[in-house]
C-alpha cells in the first residue's frame, strides 16, 4: 500500500508538475488582484464559484426546467415553440383503469416499465443483500489467498455496462456456451434472452453479477468493525458458529445491510444500461424499465416525434420515488442514531 502510494505520488509529480505549475501561476495573475480588491475573507466564495456554477447549470436549473417541460407540449426543444398544456402529460401517464394491469392504461409502455422495475428491484435487491452478505462473511474468514479472492469478487464492478451486457449476451445466446454446456449434459437449450420470463431472470442475474462486489465491500467494512473480543467471548462460552452468526454478526451488521438495502434500491430503480445492451428491453417490453421508457420517449422514438414533455413528466414521477426512498433512508438512520443515544 505504502509503495503504491509513493509510486503514484512520484508519477503525479513528474508528469504533471511543469504544466500544472505553469497553469497555476497563470491563474494566480488573475487571483492576486481579486484578493487585493475583495480581501482574504471573501476569497472562499471565489474558490466555490466554479463548482457552484456547474451544480447550478447542470443540476439546480434543470430541476426547474424539468417541471417546465412536463407542463408544456409540442415536439420542439426550445420553450418559445412549446405551448402550455397543464397537467396533460401527467393525466396521460396516470390514465389507467387498473394500475395493476398495464393493458388497461393509455400509456401501457410506461406501466409495463413500472411493473418490470418493481419486480426487478424486489428480486435484485433481495438477492443482492443475501449474496453480498454471504460473500462478505466468507471473505472475512481466515482463508488462504484472501486478497486474491476479494479482488476476484470485486472485479466486475469496474466493467462498463456495455461490456457487461455484451459479455453476457455472448454467453447466454441461443448458440452460446451456456446452452452448449447444458446440451452436453443432456439438457435442452434455454432461450435465456428471447423468452420473456428467462430474459428478466437473466437481467437480474447479470445485474447482481456486475454490482455485487460493491455491496460486498460495504458489508465487509461492517464485518471488520465488529470487535473481535465478542467472538472470543462467544468461543469461550462454547457458542455454536450458527448461533454466533445470528446473535452477534447479524445484529451488529444491520446498519451496513441497511445501507446496502437503500443504495441498491436507489440504484436498482434507475437501472438502464446493462439491461438495454443485454436484451434491448425485449423481448417485447418484458425487460424494459422506467428509465428506458424515459430514454425512448424523450430521445430515441423511432418514427414518431420525440416527446420531451412526456419524458420529463415520467422523470418527475421517478424523481419522487427516489425522494421517498431517500427519506426512508434518513428516517431509518435517524431512528437508529436515537436508539444508540438511549443506550
Amino acid at each position: 500500500m505504502k509503495n503504491i502510494r509513493i509510486n503514484i505520488k512520484n508519477f503525479f509529480i513528474r508528469v504533471f508538475n511543469i504544466p500544472f505549475a505553469f497553469l497555476m501561476h497563470a491563474i494566480d495573475i488573475i487571483m492576486w488582484p481579486i484578493q487585493k480588491i475583495i480581501g482574504v475573507r471573501n476569497m472562499p466564495y471565489i474558490f466555490l464559484l466554479p463548482n457552484l456554477i456547474f451544480f447550478g447549470l447542470f443540476v439546480i436549473v434543470p430541476l426547474g426546467v424539468n417541471v417546465a417541460f412536463s407542463v408544456t407540449g409540442g415536439d420542439e426543444l426550445l420553450f418559445a415553440n412549446r405551448e402550455f398544456s397543464g397537467s396533460k402529460h401527467y393525466n396521460y401517464l396516470f390514465d389507467c383503469e387498473n394500475y395493476l394491469n398495464a393493458n388497461s392504461c393509455t400509456e401501457d409502455f410506461f406501466w409495463r416499465g413500472v411493473h418490470n422495475t418493481i419486480f426487478f428491484v424486489i428480486f435484485q435487491v433481495g438477492l443482492m443483500i443475501f449474496f453480498s452478505l454471504l460473500t462478505a462473511v466468507i471473505l472475512n474468514k481466515k482463508i488462504i489467498g484472501r486478497g486474491f479472492f476479494r479482488s476476484v469478487f470485486f472485479f466486475p464492478v469496474l466493467l462498463s455496462p456495455v461490456v457487461v451486457g455484451l459479455i453476457w449476451q455472448w454467453i447466454l445466446l441461443k448458440n452460446g456456451i451456456l446452452n452448449a454446456f447444458i446440451e452436453a449434459n443432456g439438457g435442452d437449450k434455454f432461450s435465456f434472452l428471447t423468452d420473456p420470463g428467462w430474459a428478466m431472470t437473466s437481467s437480474i442475474f447479470v445485474s447482481i453479477w456486475a454490482h455485487m462486489g460493491f455491496y460486498t465491500l460495504i458489508v465487509l467494512a461492517g464485518l471488520q468493525a465488529i470487535p473481535p473480543n465478542l467472538y472470543e467471548a462467544a468461543e469461550m462460552d462454547g457458542t455454536s458458529r450458527e448461533r454466533t452468526f445470528f446473535r452477534i454478526t447479524l445484529p451488529l451488521l444491520m446498519p451496513n445491510l441497511l445501507v446496502v438495502f437503500i443504495l441498491a434500491s436507489i440504484k436498482g430503480v434507475q437501472t438502464f444500461d446493462e439491461i438495454y445492451v443485454l436484451t434491448g428491453g425485449g423481448p417485447g417490453t418484458s425487460t424494459s424499465l422506467v428509465v428506458q421508457y424515459i430514454f425512448t420517449t424523450g430521445f430515441a422514438s423511432s418514427g414518431s416525434v420525440q416527446n420531451f414533455g412526456l419524458a420529463a413528466a415520467a422523470s418527475m414521477v421517478l424523481g419522487i420515488v427516489l425522494l421517498l426512498l431517500t427519506l426512508i433512508q434518513l428516517y431509518l438512520s435517524r431512528s437508529r442514531e436515537n436508539k444508540h443515544q438511549e443506550i
Binding site: 503504491i4 502510494r5 503514484i8 503525479f12 494566480d28 487571483m31 484578493q35 482574504v40 475573507r41 471573501n42 476569497m43 472562499p44 466564495y45 474558490f47 466555490l48 466554479p50 463548482n51 457552484l52 451544480f55 447549470l57 447542470f58 443540476v59 436549473v61 434543470p62 430541476l63 426547474g64 426546467v65 424539468n66 426543444l77 466468507i138 474468514k141 479472492f149 476479494r150 476476484v152 470485486f154 472485479f155 466486475p156 462498463s160 455496462p161 456495455v162 455484451l166 459479455i167 455472448w170 452448449a180 446440451e183 452436453a184 460493491f214 465491500l217 445492451v277 428509465v291 424515459i294 430514454f295 424523450g298 430521445f299 420531451f308 419524458a311 422523470s315 424523481g319 427516489l322 431517500t326
Partner: protein
C-alpha cells in the same frame, strides 16, 4: 465426565477444538472457487472467443480454445474449402475438402487430386483443426471502422473531464474545509442536495441546457454536465479537514496569496485523496453510457462505449469484431485495476460511492 471424555479423545487424536473443520469451512472454499469461475470465467471466455475466426465463433457447440478448421485452396473453386479427416467405406482414412453439404451427406473432393470426388455421410468425418490466433479481429475494426478515433474520443473525454473535476472539486473542497465564512452551511447543504438528484431524473432539461450551449454532438457536451461531483467535494473536504492549520497560517504570515496556499500547500498534501478521486473519475468517464448515448448521435464523435453499442447493433453477425472491441474497451480499466486495486477498494469503503 462427558467433557473429560472428549478432552481425552482430543488429546489422543492430537486435535484441538479450534482446528476441527466445520462444514462452513468446506462450503467457503467451494463457494470461493465457484465465485472465481463465475466472475473470471466470462472474461476469459471473452478473451478466448475474441481471437477466433468468424467461422470458429459461429461454430456450435463451441470449442474452448481458438482452434480453427484448416482451410485449403483447391483449384477450380473460388473460396477456400474446409478440410476434414474422413473414414472411407473401405475403412481407410483420407484428408478431404468439403465442396457442399447436402442434408446428412457432404460432397467432398481430394485437394491433391481434384478429379476424385466423394459423397460422405457427415458422421464419417472429423474437422481438422489447428491452434490459430486471429489478431485481425483486433486490427480490422481499428483500420476499417474508425475504432482508433473512438478510442481517442474516449481518452479525450476521460482526461479532460478528470482534470476539470479535480480542479474545481478541490477548489470547492478547499473553500469548505479551510475557511469559515457566511453561507458555508448553505453551500454544504447545496452540495449534499445535488447528491440526491441523479442524472436519470433530469435527462430532458440537461439536454436542453446542453442544446442551448450548442454542445449537442460535441464531446464537451459529454464532459461538462458531470464535472462537478458532490462525491468528489466530500472526499477531498474530509481529507483537507485533517491538514494542520499552522501550515496555512505560516504561509499567510509569509504573504502567500490564497491561491498560492491552495496549490502550493493544500493540493500537494491532499494527493492521496486526489488520487482516489482521479481513479474514480477515470472509471466513471470511461464507462459512461447513458449520457453520451443521448448527446452523441453522429458517429465521428462517438466514444468507445457508444461505438461498441452501435457497432453491435449494426453487425450482430460479426461477433468476432464485437468481442475483440469489447476486450479493447475493458482492457484499460482492467490494467488500472490490477495496479491500483487497493486504492479503489479503500476509496469505495470510505465513501460508499462508486
Amino acid at each position: 465426565m462427558g467433557n473429560t471424555g472428549s478432552l481425552i479423545k482430543n488429546i489422543v487424536t492430537q486435535k484441538k477444538y479450534k482446528e476441527k473443520y466445520h462444514w462452513t469451512d468446506y462450503f467457503s472454499y467451494f463457494y470461493l472457487f465457484l465465485g472465481v469461475f463465475l466472475m473470471f470465467g466470462p472474461i476469459i471466455w471473452l478473451g478466448l472467443s475474441s481471437v477466433k475466426t468468424l467461422a470458429g465463433i459461429q461454430e456450435y457447440p463451441p470449442t474452448i480454445l481458438p482452434l480453427s478448421q484448416i482451410q485449403v485452396e483447391v483449384d477450380g473453386y473460388e473460396k477456400p474449402l474446409s478440410l476434414y479427416n474422413v473414414t472411407l467405406e473401405d475403412g481407410s482414412t483420407a484428408e478431404l475438402a468439403e465442396i457442399k453439404r447436402v442434408g446428412i451427406t457432404s460432397k467432398m473432393v481430394d485437394p491433391k487430386d481434384t478429379e476424385k470426388k466423394y459423397k460422405i455421410p457427415i458422421d464419417k468425418r472429423e474437422k481438422i483443426r489447428e491452434f490459430s490466433v486471429q489478431w485481425d479481429n483486433y486490427l480490422d475494426p481499428l483500420r476499417k471502422y474508425n475504432f482508433l478515433l473512438y478510442f481517442k474520443n474516449s481518452i479525450f473525454v476521460t482526461v479532460i473531464a478528470t482534470i476539470i473535476t479535480l480542479i474545481i472539486n478541490s477548489m470547492a473542497a478547499y473553500a469548505l474545509s479551510i475557511y469559515e465564512f457566511r453561507g458555508k452551511n448553505i453551500a454544504l447543504v447545496f452540495v449534499i442536495g445535488t447528491l440526491l438528484i441523479p442524472l436519470t431524473i433530469i435527462l430532458v432539461p440537461v439536454f436542453y441546457v446542453i442544446a442551448n450551449f450548442g454542445m449537442i454532438n460535441s464531446l464537451w457536451g459529454v464532459i461538462l454536465p458531470g464535472a462537478a461531483t458532490p462525491t468528489g467535494v466530500f472526499l477531498l473536504r474530509q481529507y483537507m479537514l485533517t491538514l494542520p492549520r499552522e501550515l496555512i497560517e505560516a504561509a499567510r504570515m509569509d504573504h502567500a496569496s490564497e491561491w498560492a496556499i491552495y496549490w502550493r500547500i493544500v493540493l500537494p498534501l491532499s494527493i492521496p485523496a486526489i488520487a482516489v478521486l482521479a481513479i474514480f473519475s477515470i472509471m466513471w468517464r470511461w464507462n459512461d453510457f447513458l449520457w453520451p448515448l443521448i448527446v452523441l448521435s453522429k458517429s465521428e464523435v462517438y466514444t468507445l462505449q457508444i461505438a461498441l453499442n452501435a457497432f453491435h447493433g449494426e453487425l450482430t453477425s460479426q461477433w468476432n469484431y464485437v468481442l475483440a472491441m469489447t476486450m479493447v474497451t475493458l482492457l484499460p480499466i482492467a490494467l488500472i485495476f490490477t495496479y491500483l486495486q487497493k486504492f479503489i477498494t479503500t476509496g469505495i469503503a470510505s465513501t460508499g460511492m462508486k
